[in-house]
């Protein structure tokens, strides 16, 4: 039995970071190219920041995938909160040195200086706001030694702004801010995402009114949009399974179901 269009469309909007599902939008592509260019500069740290759900993790994942063939790139999506463990992981991944027991910053710097490497390795740290201030200071010192380049992502909050200013103000070569999508971009994002997964029927169901409502509910946030559309198709699938689909117009997306999805996902407080 073949899955219905709603089931396959639902899977497109699963909230996972998959570089293969990266959607090329004009503004996002420009920012991404800017990030890639910054990597080639003799920088110390690149700061990528923005509100949650603006695509920072996807950017890092995509960057890792694109650069991994030509450069030494290591992506750490989950923060390594223990300092010793952080050094040990870097020593093993970058310098292929296994270290048993505790590894402090001084010992790690010795490893860095004694290990012959042709090119400067690039370390991508996602969710850097979770790192302790002490560890962030060590990362700053490491970047000053120009032995490792860091690309870190931060949530844009007052605290993260403070981190950016106090610790990295003089060392950051490039700061890139990611923003929510505009209404037009969000429409393109949804349709491109569906069409990329060959869900042409469901892509054609979205009208301008649907898109405006979705943008109004999500404010252009990619994560919220993914959640909303996922729930929307989940609802359609449920109606289909309960044989209640006849009560709905299947030629276009029902705004009622969009609002019900928003209630389900918490975008509407009802």
């Amino acid at each position: 039995m073949e899955p219905s269009i709603y089931s396959s469309s639902k899977g497109v909007f699963l909230d996972i970071v998959n570089p293969d599902e990266y959607v090329q939008l004009d503004r996002v592509s420009t920012i991404y190219q800017s990030l890639k260019d910054s990597i080639n500069k003799p920088l110390k740290i690149i700061l990528l920041f923005g509100k949650p759900g603006t695509g920072k993790s996807m950017f890092l994942t995509k960057l890792h995938k694109d650069l991994s063939t030509s450069k030494i790139v290591h992506l750490y999506e989950t923060p390594i909160l223990d300092e010793s463990e952080f050094y040990k992981t870097l020593a093993q991944d970058i310098f292929f040195t296994k270290f048993s027991g505790e590894l402090n910053f001084t010992q790690f710097m010795k490893i860095v200086k004694t290990s012959p490497i042709d090119s400067i390795p690039i370390v991508l740290l996602d969710e850097a706001q979770l790192y302790s201030d002490m560890l962030m200071e060590k990362i700053r010192l490491l970047s000053d030694s120009r032995t490792i380049k860091f690309v870190i992502t931060l949530h844009k909050t007052e605290k993260e702004d403070l981190i950016a200013k106090e610790h990295f103000q003089t060392r950051i070569w490039e700061t890139i801010e990611l923003e929510n999508a505009s209404a037009t971009e969000l429409k393109l994002y949804i349709q491109k995402k569906l069409m990329k997964a060959n869900c042409f029927d469901s892509a054609s169901m979205f009208s301008g009114k649907n898109m405006n409502l979705i943008y109004k509910l999500t404010k252009g946030n990619y994560r919220d949009t993914n959640k909303l559309i996922y729930t929307l198709f989940d609802l359609y699938e449920t109606y289909e399974q309960n044989n209640h689909l006849s009560s709905l117009n299947t030629n276009s997306i029902s705004n009622k179901l969009v609002e019900m999805s928003a209630i389900q996902t918490g975008l509407i407080n009802a």
Partner: protein
């Protein structure tokens, strides 16, 4: 699997909630708008009603004003120059009051004109002849010689356009061509009092003669005698004054004195009017 029934209930509650602000705004607008409409609209309605009601009235007035019967000119009892001047002055006022109901009262502006004119009775006589020449001729033909009534009501006077008259008169007549004039005359005693006041100020014999004539018309022969005597004392050459003086004497049963006075005056002036009057008194025609 999602609980669609529960979601639909929640969605329904959400929609009701979302319409509440709109409902409140709508009710608010109604609450403000309806009383405002009730408060302000009746005035407009009243105004409209007034306009509707006033429209035919205006129309009637216009019809009345625009249907002058130029041929039916009737100016009762105005064979004297003074009265004609009065009418002309009154006509000037018509222009001012053109938009209102045209109810005229006698104007004494002619007295002002007299004051500004040469003091001589004859001078006034000649100047007034210029303005009223044609009117006088027509009046003499149409209207019999009547004494100016103390109470006279001139109704629906429509003046014909007179090219001989001055520019002012022409303008006035043009205005009056399209209007019907109602002239109500009040008690002449008020007029006499006003004229007496003026006479006391400037001692103009024209005024004293006018007062004398008025008193004579009113039947107050002693006063007519007095003002005629005053006029003669100021200017001995006014024929009309001597005639009124002798007529008053006859009315006061001083027939002999009247005859003697007339004889003396005829000697000095060779007045035909005085001679005719003397014959009438002697023959008993005038009593």
């Amino acid at each position: 699997m999602l609980n669609t029934i529960d979601l639909e209930k929640r969605w329904f509650r959400y929609k009701i909630k979302s319409y509440i602000p709109h409902l409140i705004i709508f009710i608010g607008v109604l609450a403000i708008g309806v009383p405002s409409f009730i408060i302000f609209n009746p005035k407009e309605n009243d105004d409209n009603k007034k306009k509707v009601l006033s429209a035919p009235v205006v129309k009637k007035e216009l019809e009345t004003k625009s249907s002058p019967d130029l041929k039916n000119v009737s100016i009762p009892s105005s064979n004297t120059r003074i009265v004609s001047n009065q009418i002309l002055d009154t006509v000037k006022n018509v222009k001012i009051q053109n938009d209102e109901d045209i109810m005229f009262e006698p104007s004494l502006n002619f007295m002002q004109n007299m004051r500004n004119s040469p003091p001589s009775f004859y001078a006034m006589d000649s100047s007034s002849k210029v303005n009223t020449q044609n009117n006088e001729k027509e009046e003499k033909k149409k209207a019999p010689n009547k004494i100016v009534q103390t109470k006279e009501k001139i109704e629906e006077i429509v003046l014909e356009e007179n090219p001989v008259n001055t520019q002012t008169n022409t303008k006035v007549q043009k205005d009056i061509q399209t209007s019907v004039i109602t002239i109500n005359r009040k008690e002449a005693s008020d007029d006499i009092n006003n004229v007496i006041k003026r006479f006391k100020v400037n001692n103009n014999p024209v005024l004293s003669l006018f007062i004398s004539k008025k008193y004579y018309e009113l039947g107050d022969y002693p006063q007519a005698y007095n003002y005629a005597l005053i006029t003669n004392q100021i200017n001995r050459d006014i024929e009309a004054s001597w005639i009124i003086f002798t007529k008053s004497l006859v009315k006061l049963d001083k027939r002999d004195q009247a005859i003697q006075t007339l004889k003396d005056y005829i000697k000095d002036s060779n007045s035909n009017s005085a001679r005719i009057l003397l014959e009438e008194i002697q023959s008993g025609k005038f009593k």
